[in-house]
């Protein structure tokens, strides 16, 4: 097996909401063009960790981050880093589909426009390319200029993925992207993830054990703010080293 590149590396990452420590000394190597699943019970810090990777945690008042996160070997917490540029490189798909109350076209065009692309043709190309990559194009091609809010939840979530793809990120963070979707829409997203993995590094937080097992290459188990165990998904699910991981993945805990 060929050596995989590390895309993101966290070292000694601590995070605090006020005086509550939500992340405790997280160390992890996230591999390039792989799907990494973060699992664990609610409130264990996995979503917080996800948000530490594009620095959206710091939008919340009274929070504090310590430690280091490297993206391609570059410290993202160094003073003076271009946070706006970082967030373009590290895109995010949220738990609930959250399209803007604009047309389908305008939703996908939002990113390219804020990044300063003004050529109409170029934006149209990006919109089409992103919608195709998100496996949504065939369903919406004839109604690009109707409201995104008329789509089904599953379509809305794929639209949100297309919206992220349009800014050409390198990493896509997904925070329980299927928790609001029915099984068929979930399956579509999972298929899409396999497709996207060829070009992007994906980190997904999920409560769904089967989803983690089905889709991911690497898995990390969070408990009470700590990363208890991290390794290839197959190992974590079939030969967990920690008793608590075993209890969780077999459904006896959590």
């Amino acid at each position: 097996m060929q050596e995989l590149n590390t895309k993101i590396e966290a070292r000694g990452l601590n995070f605090y909401y006020g005086s509550v420590q939500a992340l405790k000394n997280i160390n992890i190597h996230i591999k390039e063009r792989q799907i990494t699943a973060l699992i664990g019970p609610s409130g264990c810090g996995k979503s917080t960790f996800l948000r530490a990777l594009n620095r959206t945690n710091e939008l919340i008042p009274h929070t504090r981050t310590e430690g280091s996160v490297m993206l391609d070997g570059e410290e993202i917490y160094r003073p003076g880093l271009d946070v706006v540029g970082l967030r373009q490189r590290v895109g995010m798909v949220f738990q609930r589909p959250n399209p803007f109350p604009k047309s389908i076209y305008e939703n996908v065009a939002f990113g390219p426009k804020v990044l300063g692309i003004y050529s109409r043709r170029e934006i149209e190309e990006k919109v089409e390319k992103s919608l195709k990559a998100a496996a949504l194009w065939s369903e919406v091609a004839d109604r690009l200029h109707t409201s995104a809010l008329n789509l089904t939840l599953g379509q809305q979530q794929r639209l949100c993925i297309a919206r992220v793809l349009a800014v050409e990120p390198e990493v896509i963070l997904m925070d329980e992207p299927c928790s609001a979707l029915d099984p068929i829409a979930t399956l579509k997203i999972e298929e899409l993830m396999q497709e996207l993995k060829k070009r992007y590094t994906i980190v997904i937080v999920t409560h769904n054990m089967q989803q983690a097992a089905r889709t991911s290459d690497w898995a990390g188990f969070f408990l009470l703010g700590e990363l208890l165990e991290y390794g290839p998904t197959a190992d974590l699910f079939t030969r967990p080293k920690d008793k608590r991981t075993e209890n969780y993945v077999t459904g006896r805990y959590g």
Binding site: L59, F94, K102
Partner: protein, 280 residues
């Protein structure tokens, strides 16, 4: 335990009281409208709108006061809307709850409760005398701007507050700057609410008398610049009635004022609905 009989009785009493309240309110409103329109409408010939007042307003029309009303309101909105919306954006998007934001909010709340005559006095002392603007459209407009600023700030703040947090989150996560987030996601969604606040303020500006009489004067001459003194319709109404010049013309002005407010509100609603429809 309450018996069913008591429950139904209470229910019926409550129904009667609530209907009475609603009907009384509507009744009083209709009465005022009916009285002013009944007395005023007969005066409203086209000439009434197209001629300027003659002989202190006993004869002629009210054209110069209509122009005065529009000019004053326009100046007030042009100054107050950007300032107010800007302050609201600052308070909600550019600062967290700090001492400064609390002071600004406390200040606007206090200003909102100050009677308009106090604004008039301030405008008289500050704009008219100290800044030497004299009785003028500018002095009056700036005074009105100060008066409506709190309304615009608080309605705009409320409108911005209702925008879901996720819009901001998404915009930031797509690489949007704070300014882009404000102009591309927050304002488009908040505009209906902001607009409503501005329309409320237009209504107050059109109807304001006390603050205007002290700062814009009561000249019946057609204004030629921002530094001309003017008389607004409501001031005209007040002077005609109070000095016993002509109750007939006073009612005519009153009726015209009511129609004007009606037209402005209808037009504003139409615009707003159009905007909402066209946003998909």
């Amino acid at each position: 335990m309450i018996s069913n009989r008591t429950r139904y009785l209470t229910q019926n009493v409550a129904k009667v009281l609530i209907w009475t309240a609603a009907l009384l309110t509507i009744g009083v409103m209709m009465l005022i409208l009916f009285q002013v329109l009944a007395e005023g409408l007969p005066v409203l010939h086209p000439r009434f709108f197209l001629d300027s007042p003659k002989n202190m307003g006993r004869e002629g029309g009210i054209l110069s006061t209509i122009v005065g009303t529009f000019a004053l309101t326009l100046v007030a909105i042009v100054f107050a809307a950007p300032l107010g919306v800007g302050t609201a954006i600052f308070l909600r998007e550019y600062t967290r709850e700090t001492r400064i934001s609390r002071i600004i909010r406390f200040g606007t709340d206090c200003l909102a409760g100050v009677p308009s005559i106090i604004f008039g006095l301030f405008g008289f002392v500050f704009f008219v005398i100290f800044l030497n603007m004299g009785w003028s459209i500018l002095s009056g407009g700036l005074t009105l701007a100060a008066m409506i600023l709190p309304t615009i700030i608080s309605t705009a703040e409320e409108a911005i507050k209702t925008i879901p947090y996720t819009y901001r989150e998404v915009s930031f996560s797509l690489g949007g700057t704070r300014w882009q987030t404000v102009t591309r996601t927050i304002l488009p969604s908040a505009i209906p609410g902001i607009f409503t606040g501005i329309i409320l303020s237009v209504g107050r500006s059109i109807g304001e008398t006390a603050a205007v009489i002290l700062t814009a004067g009561s000249s019946l001459v057609m204004p030629t610049s921002l530094f001309s003194p003017i008389r607004t319709m409501s001031v005209h109404f007040y002077i005609l009635a109070r000095e016993g010049i002509s109750m007939e013309m006073a009612y005519g002005t009153g009726a015209a004022l009511i129609l004007l407010v009606l037209i402005v509100n209808t037009a504003a609603n139409w615009l707003l609905n159009r905007y909402i429809r066209h946003r998909v």
